[in-house]
Symmetry: C2
Subunit: 228 residues, 2 copies
C-alpha cells in the first residue's frame, strides 16, 4: 500500500471497527490472563511468554506490543480495577459531604472494593493480584500512585484527615500503609478461600467489610507515641 503526502491509506470503516474490536479483545484477554497468573505466582515469577500462552496469543510479543513493560501491564490492570471502584466510591462520597463521623469516611475506603468483588463473583483473581502487586515495592508504588490519583480517593482521604488533625504526617503515611495492607490482604485471603471452597471467617463480603472497618476505626485515631 502506498502512502502519499502524509496521507496514510486506511482500512474501510467496518474493517477498522473490526480491527479495533479485535485489539480490544486481545488486550482484555491479556489483562485477564496476566491478572490470574500474577495472582497465583507473583508478578516477578511470570514471563510474557506464559501470559501470551494463557491469553491464547500465538505471538509472544503481544504483551509488549499492547502494553509495553511489565510495570505498564501491572498499571493497566490496576487502572481497570480502580475504574470499577471509582463510580462506587463517588456515589458513596456524594452522600457524606461534611460528615464528622470517622467511621463513614473509613467505610468509603473499604466498601467500594468489597462491593466490586461481590459483583465479580467466584472465582476472581483481582484481590489476590492486588496483594501480589503490593508485595513488590516498585509495583506497590504504581498501586499507590494510581489509587491516590483517582478523584474519589483524594476526596475520601481529605475528608478523613480533617477528622484526624493531630496525626503527624509520617504517622499518617504509616497508618495509610497499614490500612491498605490490612484491607488488601484480608480481601485476597477471602477471595482465595471462596475460590478453593475453604471456610471463611465472615459469611459475606459485606460482613468482611464490617470487620475491617471496625478494626480501622480503632487503628486510625490510635494514640501516637513519640519515640525516645
Amino acid at each position: 500500500m502506498v502512502t502519499v503526502a502524509g496521507k496514510t491509506e486506511r482500512a474501510s470503516k467496518p474493517e477498522r471497527a473490526g480491527r479495533t474490536g479485535r485489539a480490544r479483545e486481545t488486550r482484555e484477554a491479556i489483562l485477564d490472563a496476566a491478572e490470574r497468573l500474577f495472582a497465583e505466582h507473583g508478578v516477578g515469577e511470570v514471563s510474557n511468554r506464559q501470559i501470551c500462552e494463557a491469553a491464547g496469543q500465538g505471538n509472544n510479543f503481544a504483551v509488549g506490543y499492547h502494553f509495553g513493560t511489565k510495570a505498564d501491564l501491572v498499571r493497566a490492570i490496576v487502572r481497570r480495577y480502580n475504574a470499577e471502584m471509582e463510580q462506587r466510591r463517588l456515589r458513596m462520597l456524594a452522600e457524606l459531604t461534611d460528615s464528622s463521623d470517622l467511621r463513614e469516611w473509613i467505610s468509603c475506603l473499604v466498601l467500594p472494593a468489597t462491593g466490586h468483588l461481590d459483583a465479580l463473583g467466584v472465582p476472581s483473581w483481582r484481590a489476590r493480584f492486588m496483594a501480589q502487586a503490593n508485595t513488590e515495592p516498585a509495583l506497590r508504588q504504581i498501586v499507590i500512585e494510581e489509587a491516590v490519583a483517582t478523584p474519589s480517593m483524594r476526596r475520601n482521604l481529605d475528608g478523613m484527615f480533617r477528622l484526624l488533625p493531630g496525626l503527624p504526617e509520617e504517622v499518617r503515611q504509616e497508618r495509610a500503609g497499614m490500612s491498605r495492607m490490612l484491607t488488601v490482604y484480608a480481601l485476597a485471603e477471602r477471595e482465595r478461600a471462596l475460590h478453593e471452597g475453604d471456610p471463611t471467617t465472615r459469611t459475606t463480603w459485606e460482613d468482611t467489610a464490617v470487620g475491617l472497618i471496625d478494626a480501622l476505626v480503632g487503628l486510625w485515631p490510635a494514640p501516637v507515641t513519640i519515640p525516645r
Copy 2:
C-alpha cells in the same frame, strides 16, 4: 560391614562427633539457603534442587533426607525463628505478671521480633521468609500452630485477652490474624528496605515497634459491630 543380632556397627566416638557436626552444619546450610530463597521468590516457586545448590549440597536429595517434605522444612525454619524469640518474650513477660495495661501485653507481641531482627543485622531474610510463609494458607497454618504452641505466646495472649473480655471469639481470631499480618508485613518491608538501601519510615527497629504497637493498641479494643 556386618550387623549381628541387632547390634549395628558404629563409628568410633570422635568420628561420630565429626559426623554429627557435619550433619548439623549441612542442616543449618540448608535452612539458611531455603530461608533466603523462600524469602526472595515465595515458598511455592523454589525447588529442592535450587535449595541444595544454594546450600552447596551436591546431592539433590539432601533436603528430603534431612527435613522430609517442604512443609517440614518450612516448619524447621519457623521453629528456629521462634526459638530465638522465645527467651526474649519470656524475659519480658516475667516483668509483667498481672499488668492491666493492654499496651504492655501488645508490646510483648512485637518487641521480641524487632529485637531479634535488630540483633541479626543486615542483610537478613527472616522477616521476608515469614511474610512469604504467611501468604500460603497451608504454610500459614504451620506458622500459627508453631507460634501458639510456644509457652511464651500462650501466656502473652492469655494476659492480653483477660483485658478484652467483651471480644467475641470470632472477632478475637479475626483481629489476631490482622495483628499478625500487620506485624509480619511491616517487619518484612523494613528488612527489605534495609537490605536494598531504600529509605525507611522509622529510623530503628525499636521505633518501628513503637509505630506498630501504637496501631495495635487502637486496633485490638476497637468497637465491634454485629453485622445485620
